[in-house]
Amino acid sequence: MSRYAVILFALWVVVLAATPFFAENYVVRAAIVIAMYSTMALSWNVIGGFAGYPSLATAAFVGLGSYVGAVSQVNGVPMVLAWALATLVVALVSLAIGALLLRLKGHYFAIGSIVLVELFRLIASSWSSVTGGGNGLNVPLLRWEPDDVGLFILMVMLALMILAFAMNVVVKNTRLGFGLQCIRQNEDAADMVGVNTTKYKVAGFMLSTILCGTVGAVYASWVGYIDPSESFQILLTLKVAVMALLGGAGTLLGPVVGAATFVILEEVVWVNFLSWNRAILGVLIVFLIFFLPNGILRTGAFSFLRSDGASGSKRA
């Protein structure tokens, strides 16, 4: 039931929010990263999970958000306003691109969306008068105590994560979510029962990008420096999809569980096997595909979380 999901989510938010008060900086940083990836994975869930369109455009919009935020801040726009601006620009760009891109299906859609990442990266590196090109951009740093900065960014990221979760709950329980699920299962039939598939898909795509834009802008303010190859990474785009799959795409908690699991595993791997981290993540992904194809939440132990028929999950 979604009620369990909401309660568990709330508890998890409290745990993450409490980290600055009992744990080291390193843990707080991890909590920020978890909240950040959870936001992205939850966003992805709207298009990739509910609508079943394998979007690989996440990094494109995170990066776009970073750049709009950073460029605005460099040009004197106050930080929070820069974040809002980034969100707005990402929303508009994804609306325009979505209207074109969602004419594609399956592999072609996946390719079209992944190419956006590369395209945005190339534009960011060649438009140097605005973006600083390959040298990147320095964003004005928050001149507070480091601990305060951590706490502040954590709260902002958690707020975004809560928003993303709320968006999933709302979408799932309204016509939009219902329509997206119809599209996932049989797009032609959806059309035939009166779903305006184009409109629904574009709406789903937009929702899947907006908060990514905000996350990007906040991230830029947090780390203080961005460059094209860091901001637009194919790896990030695939990581986010993998997180959602790992937890269980199309479920409410899946992306959150997946993001947390992935980030924690990644941290462990980073610390202990620096030169092998990529290979170990690769092994992890291969393992996931073969042993958890429907995600952690669709394994038997968590059946109580997915008993709501509307999830569209297969019944035993």
Binding site: G48, G52, P54, L100, L101, R103, L104, G106, H107, Y108, A110, I111, G112, V115, L116, E118, L119, L122, I123, S125, S126, I234, L238, A241, V242, L245, S275, W276, N277, R278, A279, L281, G282, V283, L284, I285, V286, L288, I289, F290, P293
Partner: protein
């Protein structure tokens, strides 16, 4: 720079692109799998040739068949034991799996070969015909690439396996009724894809410095070539490659080299939206 020079540069580059992409296109067209490993296969082929040359003095042309066989075996094995298990799953699953495998291969290569750019310099000089300038190694690379692509085309057209691959691609059920074992054809196709990538890698290491970090760039080229030429056909990849080569050559001249890639990707997006079957497009194939 005059037009003829730009066209020749473009064709020389395009032939390499065609050879690079043809295996990727075949795998995508026949198996419906986007093989994210393809870029790393190319690099692996290049590295193997480089190390054979620098440690044992093996001439790259001599290394070519060995690299081909080795990569075929690698591709066949990966498909047979891993990818085949999920080959009928949704796009995202196969794409993610091959990406995971790519991360492993990539990491292995950076650890064992390190990420230093490497190139086999044969110092063959260069020459000029009718005012068009051409380094000899580039010319050899282009001819090799064209020859390999042509051989693949010939084999696909005339051999039993080639016919079986086309049959599986066009109609799996009917292919089964002919006694064709689809999984085995899949593994062979994936093997051929890896083999062509490896061979392209050997050629590339003669012309450009090769390093693991350009794997993604090569993969990107393969994408573009496929979308331009259409999936799963050798002539499609050839035309796609040549078109991309020429377009990039002109774009680099008029908009600067750093923007050549942008033009390539814009072309890809444009074609995806306007004509997703590719310029050549196999009739009736979606």
């Amino acid at each position: 720079m005059d037009i003829a020079q730009l066209v020749v540069n473009g064709l020389a580059l395009g032939a390499l692109y065609a050879c690079m992409a043809v295996g990727f296109s075949l795998v995508w067209g026949v198996l419906n799998v986007i093989n994210m490993l393809h870029g790393s296969f190319i690099i692996l082929g290049g590295y193997l040739a480089y190390f054979a040359w620098s440690y044992w003095g093996v001439h790259p042309l001599l290394a070519l068949p060995f690299v081909g066989v080795g990569l075929f075996a690698l591709g066949y094995g990966l498909q047979f034991f891993l990818v085949n298990k999920v080959v009928r799953a949704p796009v995202l699953t196969t794409l993610t799996l091959t990406f995971g495998l790519d991360m492993i291969l990539y990491n292995l290569m950076t650890v064992y070969f390190s990420a230093t750019p490497r190139r086999i310099r044969l110092d063959l000089g260069s020459f000029e015909i009718f005012g068009v300038f051409m380094p000899a190694d580039r010319l050899i690379g282009m001819l090799l690439a064209l020859a390999l692509t042509a051989i693949l085309y010939y084999v696909m057209r005339t051999s039993k396996v080639g016919r079986a691959i086309v049959a599986v691609r066009m109609d799996q059920v009917a292919a089964q009724l002919m006694g064709i074992r689809v999984n085995s054809i899949y593994a062979i196709t994936f093997g051929i894809g890896a083999m062509m990538a490896g061979l392209a890698g050997v050629i590339l290491v003669l012309v450009f410095p090769t390093t693991t970090s350009v794997a993604g760039v090569y993969l990107g080229k393969a994408f573009v070539v496929c979308v331009i030429g259409g999936l799963g056909s050798v002539p499609g990849a050839l035309i796609g490659g040549l078109v991309l080569g020429v377009v990039e050559s002109f774009a680099a001249h008029y908009f600067g080299p750093q923007n050549a890639l942008v033009v390539g990707f814009l072309l890809l997006l444009f074609l995806l939206l306007v004509k997703p079957t590719g310029l050549v497009g196999v009739r009736g194939y979606e």
